[in-house]
Symmetry: C2
Subunit: 115 residues, 2 copies
DNA sequence: CAGTATCCAGTTGGATACTG
DNA sequence: CAGTATCCAACTGGATACTG
């Protein structure tokens, strides 16, 4: 990411350098907001997430979780049991998204009329 | 987002619990953050936007502007002149995104470390 | 239980030429 | 100047079957 000199100053010329886009890339996967929202309430297992968000294909959940993990937002903990148990929770970095998530949610409630 | 497809009506476990996606749909097009960011500073003409964000194809700029307009974020004003002059500016609703945009930008600066 | 593998469809983004 | 038209590539997301 290109270094930004002054806060709130227009100093990028491509989407790749845009810090806003960078954040959206982290939280903007189709199912990432619901996943993060749910994990803000507490850790969940893979199957629980799948059950709570029924429209989401297994493969998609799997990849979104991998991406969130790669971005340092969530932490995957596998318990050496049979049958296996895997728990996902927010990292400290992920917790810092709480403010962001809440503001996005709030803006929607205030300004998006339908739904 | 200016949605013309019904497929975006996704049955989250509870749509009201997850309005985050709705906001991201509005601001999350690839070039929308830079466009909104620029317009937060003041109105710009089509060609100015195109010049300032050189990597963006004309067709893409055109569609992103249409979508932002359809979502009530920006206002398009065409002056009846030859050659034509068209100016884009944020609506009042668009101005309310300032806080959101700044927070997203701020989070990126604080938590996305990679170069 | 917690995922992969496979294969497929829809949407988005892109380069370039053209028009009112 | 301010866009469209055309055609195309890439990516994301999806349904289902299968595995450790």
């Amino acid at each position: 990411m290109a270094v930004t000199k002054e806060k709130n100053e227009i100093n990028y010329h491509s989407a790749e350098e845009c810090p806003i886009t960078a954040t959206i890339d982290v939280i903007g996967g189709k199912w990432k907001p619901p996943i993060i929202w749910l994990l803000l309430k507490g850790p969940l297992r893979f199957g629980e997430l799948h059950k709570i968000i029924p429209g989401m294909a297994l493969k998609v959940l799997s990849r979104q979780l991998k991406e969130l993990e790669a971005d340092g937002i969530i932490i995957r903990k596998a318990y050496p049991e049979v049958p296996p148990r895997v728990e996902y929770r927010l990292s400290e970095k992920g917790e810092t998204l709480r403010e962001v998530i809440f503001l996005l949610s709030d803006w929607s409630r205030k300004h998006i009329i339908n739904a």
